[in-house]
Assembly symmetry: C2
């Protein structure tokens, strides 16, 4: 059940009530691909980072350790000891980006596992079955994510097929939620809008899938090759066709500035591997903009990464120490940087929610779109 608590222009302050607790939106989902966050970060750490909802990857967990095992162990929440909401993606993105020898038909996708080459098949029903076994809070529809740019005719055929797949996803999810040994019988299903960078396809697809009255809607197929302005243009075009009373999720996006811009355009949910991927190379987010801790000037800098941050890294360690750890390729360096970046993303969302609650989002947006934008103090 999604409640809209406040709006400011297109920006929305909402709350999604789930069996695993409430999700205050706008929200950033912390990505734990294989039921573990990169950088040695545990679900216990996620509590310290004020993470509201974790995202795990269906494809990865299906292949290893297997969704049936996780079902037998009581579902993903018990598996990695996390009581708050979990969203699982559909596996589609990985099938199309990681797996080899894939062949798409109306039925679904034949592919070879990226681990051992084993031949596998995934279609809408299989994706729902796997996600039902995982027993996540929110399941994502099985879709084809087409990279940008792709030919108009291909994108048209693909997004129409994805819409037909969505009907099958909903039917299968309804069936699974009614079975006696289903762990989470209240599993939610979000549909995914596709259509590449073609405005007419995006609009047609969004109108079509909106009719299915799903628990939420995502915009997929962005941040996959197109320019940032093009991404914003597509959001602007799709958003008016999205149901106002359902949560909206912009998949795989993005930088702090991208998120702020998308909230301003009416988006509620986000996820991205950027906080952990950047951390690995010492690229850190701060309330003064970006910094790279490898920079020589931090060699003997005893200040925390961000003097305005209260994350576990900033509370206890200096720039000089963390720079040393990253340069020495110590795992602890990556862990501290990931903790910092994830804390920053979660705090950014908290500040956005505070601004919406307090009625000053527009001025917050105008200020931080510059600070979090391209300007770089390094």
């Amino acid at each position: 059940m999604f409640k809209l608590l406040a709006t400011d222009g297109k920006a929305r302050r909402g709350r999604l009530e789930t069996v695993h607790g409430n999700i205050e939106t706008p929200v950033f989902m912390n990505v734990g691909t294989c039921a573990a966050i990169k950088g040695g970060v545990s679900t216990k750490d996620l509590l310290d980072l004020n993470c509201q909802i974790e995202l795990s990857n269906t494809y990865h967990l299906h292949i290893r350790p297997g969704d049936k095992l996780i079902h037998d162990l009581g579902g993903i929440h018990k598996f990695f000891n996390w009581q708050r909401p979990v969203l699982t993606d559909s596996g589609g993105f990985q099938v199309f980006s990681l797996a080899k020898l894939r062949k798409i038909t109306e039925e679904g996708v034949k592919f070879a596992s990226h681990i051992d080459g084993q031949r596998m098949f995934m279609g809408p029903e299989e994706s729902m079955q796997i996600q039902s076994n995982l027993a996540s809070t929110i399941a994502m529809a099985f879709d084809e994510c087409v990279e940008n740019p792709s030919p108009y005719e291909y994108v048209k055929q693909s997004s129409e097929r994805t819409a037909r797949w969505l009907v099958r996803c909903k039917k299968e999810m309804d069936r699974l939620n009614s079975l006696p040994d289903t762990i989470n019988k209240n599993q939610l299903l979000f549909g995914i809008n596709q259509g590449g960078t073609y405005e007419d396809l995006r609009i047609e697809n969004m109108k079509e899938i909106a009719k299915l009255d799903l628990d939420g809607y995502a915009i997929g197929g962005l941040a996959v090759g197109e320019k940032t302005d093009e991404m914003y243009r597509i959001i602007d075009v799709v958003e008016p066709c999205m149901p106002k009373d359902k949560p909206r999720y912009l998949m795989g996006v993005g930088t702090p500035c991208n998120i702020l811009e998308a909230v301003h355009r009416g988006i509620d949910f986000f996820d991205c591997v950027m906080p952990s991927r950047n951390a690995r190379h010492g690229n850190l987010f701060s309330w003064n903009g970006k910094m790279n801790i490898m920079n020589e000037k931090y060699l003997n800098d005893t200040r925390p990464l961000d003097p305005n941050c209260s994350c576990p890294a900033c509370k206890d360690y200096s720039r000089a120490y963390i720079r040393h750890l990253i340069k020495a390729k110590e795992m602890l360096g990556m862990r501290l940087c990931v903790l910092h970046n994830l804390f920053f993303y979660n705090e950014l969302m908290q500040k956005i929610r505070d601004a919406l609650d307090g009625g000053y989002f527009e001025s917050f947006y105008q200020k931080y779109r510059l600070i979090l934008g391209e300007r770089n103090p390094d």
Copy 2:
């Protein structure tokens, strides 16, 4: 100042008072080579693991980030935010094992850095200067660690040179501790007994260095190629020549069973990379003996690694989950296993101290030498 609180046979319960607090012995020092514990473990984590004293490596820190930098930042305690004692090794072991193109003279050792091949020199004075810059609680004497077996004549010459080096170490340490800009003017110095597996050389060397009235004495050059029984034989031979009123440190040893056997033979201090190195491969210590979490039988095992353990991994996560993490090569898997193994080592020492305090060490020893020995429930 070392106080002997209780004895049971040769086993000793002691307390070393330092400027960074007391060290209750027997004690295991948790190894953080580059001022960071492998497996993404921070000094804050070490507090949760009940670690009393951390060990850092002089050679590594000299090369990166540089001991002068650490001095300018206020010493290693400030650098990695750790208030309890730190022991630094002399750099000798790494100069002889890691560095290339080394040439030994009476003066010291010329070598090439293992990082960038830069030509460097380290002798007794340089080692003391570096350790004084690091400002550790306990500095180790600069020695040559000869691998076993080595020819009698070489070991004789080497251990005699190491003894001459020790005189220079003491002189230099006294000088450094009297300088105004020395951070820890109470830095302690432990001498190191050498002599390979030759009983006469070991005894002669130990008697010689005991005369220097140092703050503690280590047995070096063991666990470097000889059999375990040979190691115990050397300890048995050297121990009677070690001052009773000084702490004794068996360098780089060992398995839980090795440690128990060495405590039984009168040793107080230990360090070893085994807890973290084993953890990387899923080899875990438990109060029922060793286990390898990769074993198929743990696939769906919802119990903690060790039901009798209260470490951060056992408190929150199952064998099935940790097995999955290690198999998926997730950094979190290694971190949880390292936390478990280090906690186990620290708890082992606590139980040994409790047994000595309680006057039941001999029965504890007889029971756990079997449980912690070669028997393996896998």
